[in-house]
């Protein structure tokens, strides 16, 4: 069967362990970490694709893929159950000759050259599954075409003191990239790569093959492939993105991104022109009890709030019993917080049960660290607290 030609195929890198998220990614891949009351992180990249008119997506998985696989299903939650294209999960597979795990971001694409070739695309869009943002990729692809670029890298301005966490690039007036350094100690600019690339497929394929033959390469886009293309004199352009964008690779940034949803000027998810789609259990509206107090928070369906909630994100199916206080926290789906508990500055993962009267976390004002309670923990006394 010959596949319908697609102008652009998106490849979503979802195989990373996300070890800096600690207990939150012990059992699940980073893109499937819950976010924002009813979402998982991957919803943002997938919804951006759908809203940008991209309907052919390969999702590269490797680390703990079970929850991610069943979450994605046939993609219908994102309108990606398509006759031609749609969403496909791509774990590493065995083939004649050498078979390996995905060794790096570039290698994972290299191992899926055949998948991309099926659609004979002009362009390939490389995405990460661990960023929170709303972005119209079609505008970036338009820019890529206009510049006749071989590779376009989406960039965002970051504060200088944070620049050394990112791939930092410099570009000339036309936007052509002159220099690229992955996590530089002394950043030359504040233009950070967002890990979103558009390539001409024939060029990307060529450099993936060159990179694969280099035994010293770590087969990574930022460390190896982009510098290689730059050295070879290919046309790389920077596409400036303005708007909210958050890499949620750490506990702190994940907590902060959740908090960014609160308040009148927060990152707005109720945007009918850019809906973030997700897959979720069928739950009735949330119930707010007679003595409940909820301030500056978001609450999702199926929650039952009988206590007090301040500056927090409450996922679907959460129960917060009478006289419990939840402050500056992220409470993920189906958590039960019993009577009289006090939860401060914590991230409580899915399906945790916290017995009556317990105190979890220290008030944020005291400058302590965020407390994380792993999935499905049952805590009945302070001794049980990990």
């Amino acid at each position: 069967m010959k596949f319908a030609k697609k102008e652009c195929v998106a490849m979503l890198l979802a195989g990373g362990q996300g070890s800096r998220l600690g207990a939150l990614t012990a059992k699940i891949a980073k893109p499937s970490v819950p976010f924002g009351g009813k979402y998982r992180i991957i919803d943002f990249a997938l919804s951006n694709c759908t809203n940008s008119g991209i309907d052919t997506i390969g999702v590269l998985t490797q680390y703990q893929p079970l929850i991610l696989n069943s979450y994605i299903g046939d993609g219908k939650s994102w309108d990606l159950d398509r006759m031609h294209g749609g969403i496909q999960i791509l774990p590493p597979y065995q083939r004649v000759g050498d078979s390996e795990w995905y060794l790096g971001t570039a290698n994972s694409i290299y191992q899926n050259i055949d998948f991309i070739d099926q659609y004979r695309p002009e362009y390939v869009l490389i995405l990460s599954g661990d960023h929170i943002y709303k972005m119209d990729y079609s505008l970036m692809i338009d820019y890529h075409k206009k510049m006749d670029a071989d590779c376009t890298i989406s960039v965002i301005d970051v504060p200088l003191k944070e620049a050394s966490r990112f791939g930092i690039l410099s570009s000339d007036e036309s936007g052509r990239i002159t220099d690229f350094e992955e996590k530089p100690k002394r950043p030359k600019s504040t233009q950070a790569s967002m890990g979103i690339y558009v390539f001409k497929w024939n060029k990307l394929k060529k450099y993936l093959e060159i990179d694969d033959k280099n035994p010293d390469s770590s087969n990574d886009f930022g460390k190896d492939l982009i510098p290689l293309m730059l050295r070879s004199g290919e046309k790389l352009y920077a596409y400036k993105f303005e708007g909210y964008w958050k890499d949620v690779g750490t506990i702190e940034s994940l907590w902060q991104a959740n908090m960014d949803l609160l308040g009148e000027n927060g990152f707005e998810l109720s945007d009918e022109n850019w809906i973030i789609y997700s897959r979720h259990a069928e739950k009735p509206p949330h119930y707010t009890g007679r003595d409940a107090i909820i301030k500056n928070s978001i609450v999702s369906e199926g929650a039952v709030i009988l206590g007090t909630v301040e500056n927090s994100v409450i996922f679907s199916g959460v129960t917060i019993e009478e006289n419990a206080l939840v402050k500056d926290s992220v409470i993920m789906a189906d958590v039960v917080i019993s009577k009289g508990c006090v939860i401060n500055y914590s991230i409580i993962d899915e399906m945790v049960k916290i017995g009556p009267g317990l105190k979890i976390g220290k008030p944020k004002e005291e400058g302590s660290e965020i407390t994380v309670i792993p999935r499905e923990s049952v805590i009945n006394n302070m001794g049980g607290l990990v």
């Binding site: 924002g36 009351g37 009813k38 219908k76 939650s77 949803l261 609160l262 308040g263 009148e264 998810l269 109720s270 809906i275 973030i276 789609y277 997700s278 259990a281 069928e282 739950k283 009735p284 509206p285 949330h286 119930y287 707010t288 009890g289 007679r290 003595d291 409940a292 107090i293 909820i294 301030k295 500056n296 928070s297 978001i298 609450v299 999702s300 369906e301 909630v309 994100v313 409450i314 996922f315 679907s316």
Partner: protein
Amino acid sequence: MNALGIIFSDMQDWSMTELAAHRSVAAIPFGGRYRLIDFPLSNMVNSGINKIYLITSSKYRSLMEHVGSGKDWDLSRKKGGILLIPPYSSSENHGLYHGRLDALKRVLDYITSSKEKYVILSDTDMIYEINYQDVISYHDEKNSDITAVYTKTNINKSTSVHKILYEFDQEGRAVDILVYPITNGTYNVGLNTWVMNKDFLESLLYDAIARNYKDFSYNVLSARVHSLRIYGYEYTGFFAHIDSLQSYYETSMKLLNKDVLQSIFYSKTGPIYTKTKDSAPTKYCSGALVKNSLIANGCIIEGTVENSILFRDVRIGKNAVVKNSIIMQHGRIGDNAKLDSVITDTYTFVNKDRVLLGYSSCPFFIKKNSVV
């Protein structure tokens, strides 16, 4: 399960003049994020029925939009699935369906061609939660022609006129059936849900055609109560009949009771499914004060909400006070507005500083797309 479901979407819309003015009864929004059709549909799906005919006579646009391909109820199937059947004018039949029996006669070819052993007929104006498998087992056990689901409840003259009442002998066989009577007291009230063998329904319809019967309740049930084996299956869970604005309001307010909420939405049979809207979680701003309320996703609350139900995508402005009210989807309540015992239909816009007052026994209804 080896059963065909037939749901009548608008058998009672004459009694729901406000809420069903522009939509069939089945499409009336209910419970913050549902429409009435979701309850019988979910009951059927949760009972393992995956072939459903949805009979709808008129005003079915919002119903069609809601149901779509049926995929939100897992009913977008190669085998079975959901089929909406509006009236189909032919040389013998013209115009809208004239009641349940006329509709059944006119879809007879679809009934004949289906291969299921049983047929379950249901309306959409009753809220209850049942596993039809249990009803079918009882139906087989009694070897009945028709098994009618009923519940024992108190009724009065104003509500009895929309109900079918059954009297059973000790075996559970119907000995008398009253259709839309005017009476007070405790009765076996029909849930307008019947189970039959498909072959039996076919023969019933052939007979009805030959004798030119016009009405299912009078000509088939009531008049033939002695010649047919009609048995009652008692349902004992939460039940509400939405047959007026008043009962709509009362039933909605009952959802604020934890036990009722639990029994409807977290039953063993399964959840109530509805059309996915992908609304973001609801945002409580710093001025929000919400008590004893049911709040769907997609709302932004800056004021006070008490004893109320907010549907999806509702905005409550600063210092607005909404009490004992139902605000349907896309409602906008302006700053400082005060609402008590009000039902606003979808896309209602209440300007700032407005004061709207109903009473619990007579809620103030504001129709769709109104600007107050």
